[in-house]
Symmetry: C2
Subunit: 180 residues, 2 copies
DNA sequence: TACAATTTTCACAAATTACTGAAAGTTCGA
DNA sequence: TCGAACTTTCAGTAATTTGTGAAAATTGTA
C-alpha cells in the first residue's frame, strides 16, 4: 500500500496531535490514514503504509473500535476485515465529543459530587467545597451541551457552529424575547 | 503544609485527569491544590503537600506559568514567591480553552491549509483533500467559537452554557426571525 | 473436522517521559 | 559587594508508555 506525500504529512501531523488527544501517536496516524483514504483498509495495508507491526495495528484497531470511530466491513470473497471512517465528518466529531465525555467528564463529575456530599468541617474544606461546586456546575453545563449536540443533525450542528460571532447577539435577542 | 483527606482525593483525581489534558499527572495535582486552597502557596508548601521534589515543583510552576493558569504574588516581609489561581472559575476555563486552541487547533489548521494549497494530482489526493477541507471548515468554526468565548464576560458565558437544551430551540427562533 | 487464513494476546524490549539531587544562577538586603 | 535566601537548570535515573515477534486463539470453508 503506497501512500502519497500529502497523506504522509497529514498522517504525521495527526500522529502528533493524537498524543494530545488521549489517543497516542500511532493511533492518531492510523485514524488519519483511514479518514483520508476512500477505500476501506485492512490491517496489513495499514501496517505497511505506516511501517508499524501487524500486532500494533491490531491493538490500535481495538482501541479505535472502543472509541466507535471506525466501521468494520467485509469485502465479498475476501476473508480480511476492512475498516473505514464515517463519511460524515460531523459524525466523527460527535462521536469524539461523546467518548471523551464518557471517559473524562463523567468520572470527574462523579468525583466532584462525592466531594460535595462530604461534611466540610474545617474552613479549608469549606473553601475547597465552594470551588468544587463551581467546577461541578460548569462541567455539568458542558455535559448538558454535549448531550444536546448528540441529538443534533449534522446540518443543524453546522448551522450552529457557523453562527460564530453571532452567538453573542443571539443571546441578547433571546433576552429581549423573554422580556416581552 | 497539611492537606485534608478531601483535598487529597480531589488532587489525586485531577492528577489522573491532568494526563488526559496535555498536562501531566504532577501538573494536574499541583493545579488542583492551588485551585482548592484559598491562600497563595509557595513552592515549598506544594512540594511538601504533594510529596514531590522541590525541583519538580519548580518545573511544574514554570509550565503552569506558560499556560497563564497561575498568578504570582508576593507576601510582604517574605522573599518567597506565592502562587494562586484566579478566583473566577470561568476565567480559568477561558484560559484553558484559549491555550489549548493555541497549542493544538492553530497548528492543525495551518497544516490543513497547507495541504489544501497543494495541487492534488492523483485521485487519492483529491479525496484526501476533500476530507481535509471538511476538517478544516469544522475546526475553523470551532476556532471562531473559542474566539467568541474569549470576549464574553463570565456572566454571559454562564448564561450561554445554562441555555443547555434551549440552544436547539434558540436556533429555530433565529431562523424564524431571519425569515420574517 | 481439519486446516489454512486471519486476528488477538502477551511477555519482553525499546522509546519516551517524568522525577530527582546537586550544582549553578538570581535576587535582595546589609 | 557579600552572603543568605530562594529559584532554576540539568544530567542521570526511574517510571511509564508504546511497539514487537512469537505463540495462541478464532474464523470460515472444504
Amino acid at each position: 500500500m503506497k501512500i502519497t506525500p500529502m497523506t504522509q504529512s497529514l498522517v504525521l501531523h495527526f500522529g502528533e496531535m493524537g498524543s494530545r488527544w488521549g489517543l497516542n501517536r500511532t493511533l492518531g496516524q492510523m485514524y488519519a490514514l483511514i479518514v483520508l483514504t476512500e477505500a476501506p483498509l485492512n490491517a496489513d495495508q495499514i501496517s505497511e503504509a505506516l511501517q508499524i507491526s501487524r500486532s500494533n495495528v491490531s491493538m490500535g484497531l481495538k482501541e479505535l473500535k472502543s472509541w466507535n470511530l471506525i466501521k468494520l466491513q467485509h469485502i465479498p470473497g475476501d476473508r480480511k476485515e476492512y475498516f473505514s471512517a464515517p463519511s460524515d465528518i460531523w459524525e466523527i466529531a460527535r462521536t469524539l465529543v461523546l467518548e471523551r465525555r464518557k471517559r473524562e467528564l463523567d468520572p470527574t463529575l462523579s468525583t466532584l459530587r462525592d466531594a460535595l456530599m462530604e461534611q466540610a468541617t474545617s474552613e479549608a474544606d469549606q473553601y475547597a467545597q465552594m470551588r468544587v461546586k463551581q467546577m461541578h456546575d460548569l462541567l455539568e453545563m458542558v455535559t448538558l451541551w454535549t448531550t444536546e449536540l448528540q441529538g443534533m443533525s449534522s446540518d443543524k450542528l453546522a448551522a450552529l457552529l457557523k453562527l460564530g460571532e453571532g452567538i453573542s447577539k443571539l443571546l441578547d435577542v433571546k433576552d429581549k424575547l423573554l422580556l416581552r
